[in-house]
């Protein structure tokens, strides 16, 4: 989240898109209903009439996978009707920046496309620069090559009629949503945008978020109270795990994982450290060397010296995109021999679980670390191919302690790191993840020392000095190292401003510098006093990255003179008389303490401003363009480029240009997957609780009355759902809450499947992911769980 949970209450309009907080983030609705009490309008756009839609003032349905068409239509509406925040756009975005004449977009493809490699060369997605290397601009926004005009031209095709036709919604419903949300373009209004996996789990997932970011920037909703782009995370600490390098392409603090061409620290820094010639751009990532060197010191301690590049070459280098699907493809090919699954259950949660279960059978060993027996730990009971007796994989199940049985921090969606004490001892032999990892490290190091092995230094010389505590490893020592230490003074660093690139500072994650200082554990603070601006920042409650800044890009909440756009709900403001006449910012921790005009507000971008047009950062285009999902009932109406041309494809999709209509005849129904408030993720933690099984007793297929009628199915009867990947049996939940989409005058049915079920536990059912495919987003490789085609028939024994 750029903002945070409490801040939702400050919004005048709340947009729920690609998410269903009433079901999946029930506590979020505390803040949403508080906003409503204060007069806010709530909008939901979703293929299903969700529990969130039920509590919304406006609801518009849209066909799964058509968010970009919908939001591009809203951008067009905002521009055509001059609903955007004009002063904000001029000051805080790249609207006026002139783009390279080499940039072009034709028939759904951007310039630089390499059809053979299925990649873009983004060289032409660039700014025009003057002789000094500064970006040229036209403050009047009239130059046809400025980002604003290019965006305006790009979205011109997304008329309300085109949106209604492609999204399968009513034109008037689209316009009602556009009008209500774009009303927040006024300086004194705020609109927040709440999303989750409904946006991301698509072949265009990143662009689905990007398109909202563009709209929010146009409306001046970034950096303000009650605004922002807010990802509601699906697990209590998924924000924390992302902050700490969970994903394959990032190290802690969103530093990049090295690739084979990074043969030295200098080469790596050359690639990763952006430069800017603009004196008004803070270009914060210019500090990159300080963060990576301090991280290397935390990893390798005394072994890391200036002479040996701080052991940079000890960091593993990735030579591909080793995301979830890639790992399973490698497993399938026999490239991966062993695997640890910490609180993960791909036999239920992974895409195309038949394929992934087959891959698991190729492992020599599998370790599942979990609270319960999982389908993954027991995959050999129901292998997708062959007999259980033929499975050679040796499986270990390590009982893990639950969150209340261990001490540590949890970072919530709003980036608040909240320290939690241990409430009760773990049951039985269960141990904390920290203890399990500690034991592994100790044992693996012992083996390397006694038996040798390939390239032992990164293991045996790893800095691992956390001994203590009742379990033998002290979580406070870990947290202190994450915060960082100045070795010359022996003091904890107060913030990342104190980090250096000369090896004198040690820091596990620069973003968390300030979380555990000489004053103690900031994450354990519980001061419920609000700040002077009274917008729910609660700066003394826990600790928030970065530097306890509660609202990111908050300098954008002010005009170039540091005066808030909305004085009633100000986040920061410049007081020229403070600090002995030198001036100072009041309110939230600002994005840098410079006087207002000295730096532009978006300090993490080398341009210093938010990007309507993204010259870098996206592999599938500088502007969002509608493509159909990998499996679709209709041809793309906006171009002849049917699907995202650079989507991550690990398995050749069965639908293609030649068999397009034939495939639709065989699989005429759109399917989407979703979660329930009563069950959680792959289900181990909830399908073993009788009180929750009572509420959601069985796997079901949500379908319209019309579809049920056509198939002769009554509520509760068993049906069979098939895709080319597999089939499942489940019971029909016939409901008004899902409706067919009207496409070219024809109704197209859509079913919805909860994906929590599997074959282990008190309550069991077929995993919906037997139906999903091994393809996903071009930028993140997240699977396209949210839309595929299927067929539904009466039958089965569910």
């Amino acid at each position: 989240m750029t903002n945070h949970w409490n801040d939702i209450a400050n919004a005048d309009v709340i947009m729920i898109a690609g998410s269903n907080p009433a079901s999946n983030h029930p506590m979020a609705f505390k803040h949403i209903m508080e906003a409503k009490r204060r007069g806010a309008t709530i909008i939901t756009i979703d293929p299903r009439f969700t529990r969130s839609a039920n509590r919304s003032d406006l609801y518009c349905k849209l066909r799964p996978g058509t968010d970009i068409a919908f939001v591009n239509g809203m951008i067009r509406y905002a521009i055509e009707n001059r609903k955007y925040h004009q002063d904000y756009v001029k000051w805080a975005t790249n609207a006026s920046f002139l783009l390279s004449p080499d940039f072009a977009v034709a028939d759904g493809l951007f310039s630089g496309f390499d059809a053979e490699q299925r990649v873009y060369d983004p060289a032409s997605w660039a700014y025009q620069k003057d002789a000094e290397g500064r970006i040229k601009s036209d403050p009047t926004l009239r130059d046809p090559s400025c980002a604003f005009q290019v965006l305006k031209t790009h979205v011109a095709r997304y008329t309300p009629e085109a949106v209604a036709r492609v999204c399968g919604c009513a034109r008037k419903d689209f316009l009602a949503v556009a009008e209500a949300f774009c009303a927040t373009g006024r300086p004194d209004k705020a609109g927040t945008m709440l999303y989750a996996m409904g946006l991301t789990q698509h072949t265009v997932g990143s662009q689905n978020v990007r398109v909202w970011a563009i709209l929010q920037t146009l409306l001046g909703n970034m950096g303000i109270a009650g605004g922002g782009i807010n990802a509601m995370r699906g697990e209590s600490n998924v924000q924390g795990s992302t902050d700490f390098g969970l994903l394959y392409h990032i190290l802690p603090g969103y530093l990049q994982t090295p690739v084979p061409t990074d043969q030295s620290l200098a080469a790596y820094l050359q690639r990763c450290t952006p430069a800017s010639q603009d004196p008004t751009s803070a270009n914060w990532w210019q500090n990159y060397p300080k963060y990576i060197v301090s991280y290397l010191k935390a990893m390798y301690g005394a072994a890391a010296t200036t002479q040996n590049d701080f052991c940079f070459n000890w960091l593993p280098k990735r030579d591909g995109k080793q995301s979830h699907m890639a790992i399973f493809e490698d497993m399938d090919r026999g490239k991966i021999k062993g695997a640890f699954f910490f609180g993960q259950n791909p036999a239920v949660g992974g895409p195309d679980t038949n394929r992934e279960t087959r891959a698991l059978a190729n492992l020599d060993w599998l370790v599942a670390v979990d609270l319960w027996q999982t389908e993954t730990a027991n995959f050999w009971l129901h292998p997708s191919e062959g007999r259980p007796a033929d499975i050679k994989t040796e499986v270990f199940l390590l009982p893990a302690s639950a969150s209340f049985e261990k001490e540590g921090s949890i970072s919530n969606s709003g980036r608040w790191a909240q320290w939690r004490y241990k409430a009760v001892d773990p049951l039985g032999m269960a141990k904390s993840d920290l203890w399990i990892v500690d034991q592994l490290v100790r044992e693996i190091r012992r083996l390397y020392r006694s038996e040798g092995g390939e390239f032992p230094d990164p293991i045996v010389k790893l800095s691992w000095d956390y001994a203590g505590g009742e379990e033998g490893i002290d979580v406070h020592k870990v947290a202190r190292e994450i915060n960082g230490l100045d070795k010359t003074t022996g003091h904890q660093v107060a913030s990342f401003a104190a980090l250096k690139d000369d090896g004198t500072t040690v820091c596990g994650n620069w973003l968390y510098a300030g979380s555990y200082t000489d004053d103690g554990n900031m994450m354990a603070r519980r001061d419920a006093t609000d700040a002077a601006n009274g917008i729910g920042l609660f700066p003394g409650w826990a600790w928030c990255w970065p530097v306890n800044r509660r609202i990111l890009y908050n300098r954008a909440s002010c005009n170039p003179d540091g005066v808030p756009w909305n004085p009633r709900k100000w986040v920061v403001k410049w007081d020229p008389t403070a600090n002995a006449g030198k001036g100072a910012w009041l309110g939230d921790v600002p994005d840098g303490g410079w006087p207002p005009r000295d730096r532009r507000p978006f300090i993490m971008r080398p341009e210093g401003v938010a990007c309507l047009f993204a010259t870098s950062g996206m592999v599938d285009g500088p502007l969002p363009e509608h493509y159909e999902p990998m499996e679709s009932v209709m041809r793309n109406r906006f171009s002849r480029t049917q699907t995202n041309p650079v989507a991550a494809i690990f398995q050749t999709p069965e639908q293609n240009d030649r068999n397009f209509e034939e495939f639709v005849r065989e699989y005429p129904i759109i399917a989407t997957t979703h979660r329930l408030s009563e069950h959680w993720q792959a289900g181990q933690m909830t399908r073993n609780i009788s009180l929750l099984n009572e509420l959601m007793p069985a796997m079901f297929v949500k379908m319209s009355l019309e579809l049920a009628d056509r198939l002769g199915i009554k509520n509760g009867q068993s049906v069979v759902v098939t895709t080319p990947r597999g089939e499942i049996e489940a019971r029909a939940h016939v409901t008004l809450r899902i409706q067919p989409f009207e496409i070219d005058g024809q109704p197209v049915e859509c079913i919805a499947l909860p994906w929590h079920f599997g074959f282990i536990g008190e309550s069991t059912g077929a995993p919906a992911n037997r139906l999903t495919g091994h393809w996903g987003d071009a930028n993140t490789q997240i699977p396209e769980y949210k839309v595929f085609l299927c067929n539904v028939k009466k039958g089965g024994t569910a």
Binding site: P26, M33, S677, I689, S690, L692, L695, A698, R731
Partner: protein, 267 residues
């Protein structure tokens, strides 16, 4: 403890998360029950209140004449009536069903003879026979939690304020205000059954939820019994009432244990 503790349920703030149904069972140590499918409309499960389900979040879907789809939620539970059929008709001597001076209606498991009169007559069908224990059970308004200064479990868990708890005057004020926000909205429980300690905002009118206009004893089995208006707890001293409140659940457990022992003793 509040003087007139009252629960106000407003479905227009309810997201249907069913935290109330779960929290009720968790606190009162009630079993989950399932036939393997949604027994009621929409996601409603189980079908109705039972001896193991003291609070049911009922859901149903309807398309109104204006075309607007409504996914309506309501809580089914004991209303804790002033003029309570269960109390009035309880034939046990002394009465097992009683309304205390705070307006909380409980069934004392030690006194309950398991005759089913309250089950047959409650206009809201709240008390149910726990057959294995041969006693009637229902929502206690978490009297044990209230005695300890806590709010009822269903209230504590509610994320949106759909289930509120406070003094009756305050709940009536808020309830009236909220009812007015809906064209056909009414506040139910104000005078029905002599006024109840659970109030409902009914946004689509009383009939929509199937709430009786004049809640009367339903049954004909024991319905002819003479009414006894004197509340059992009314005669207790304040400390006595406190003690009784805190032992209600304890007694229930005791009764359960006794029943278990009886069952074990059977050949």
């Amino acid at each position: 403890m509040l003087k007139n503790p009252t629960i106000l349920y407003d479905p227009m703030l309810c997201t249907g998360c069913r935290g109330c149904q779960v929290a009720c069972k968790q606190w009162n140590d009630l079993q989950g029950e399932s036939s393997g499918w949604f027994e009621g409309p929409s996601y409603t499960s189980p079908k109705w209140i039972s001896a193991n389900t003291w609070l049911l979040l009922q859901m149903h879907e309807e398309r109104f004449l204006d075309g607007k789809l409504v996914w309506a939620f309501t809580q089914r539970r004991c209303h804790h009536c002033q003029d309570a059929a269960c109390v009035n008709l309880c034939p046990a001597e002394p009465k097992a069903a009683a309304r205390d001076e705070h307006g909380i209606v409980t069934i004392d498991p030690e006194l309950c003879i398991g005759c089913g009169t309250c089950v047959e007559n409650c206009p809201f069908e709240a008390p149910k026979l726990a057959e294995e224990y041969e006693i009637a059970r229902k929502c206690t308004m978490c009297i044990d939690r209230q005695r300890a200064g806590l709010r009822p479990a269903c209230v504590t868990t509610c994320p949106t304020g759909a289930t509120l708890f406070g003094e009756r005057d305050e709940m009536v004020r808020i309830g009236k205000e909220r009812a007015k926000r809906n064209k056909r909205g009414v506040l139910y429980g104000l005078s029905e059954a002599g006024g109840s300690s659970v109030l409902y905002v009914l946004p689509y009118g009383r009939e929509y939820e199937g709430f009786p206009a004049d809640p009367k004893p339903r049954g004909d089995v024991m319905g002819a019994l003479p009414r006894k208006d004197a509340p059992v707890l009314g005669s207790l001293s304040a400390p006595g009432a406190v003690a009784l409140g805190s032992v209600v659940l304890g007694l229930q457990k005791l009764a359960e244990r006794k029943t278990e022992v009886r069952r074990e003793e059977k050949p």
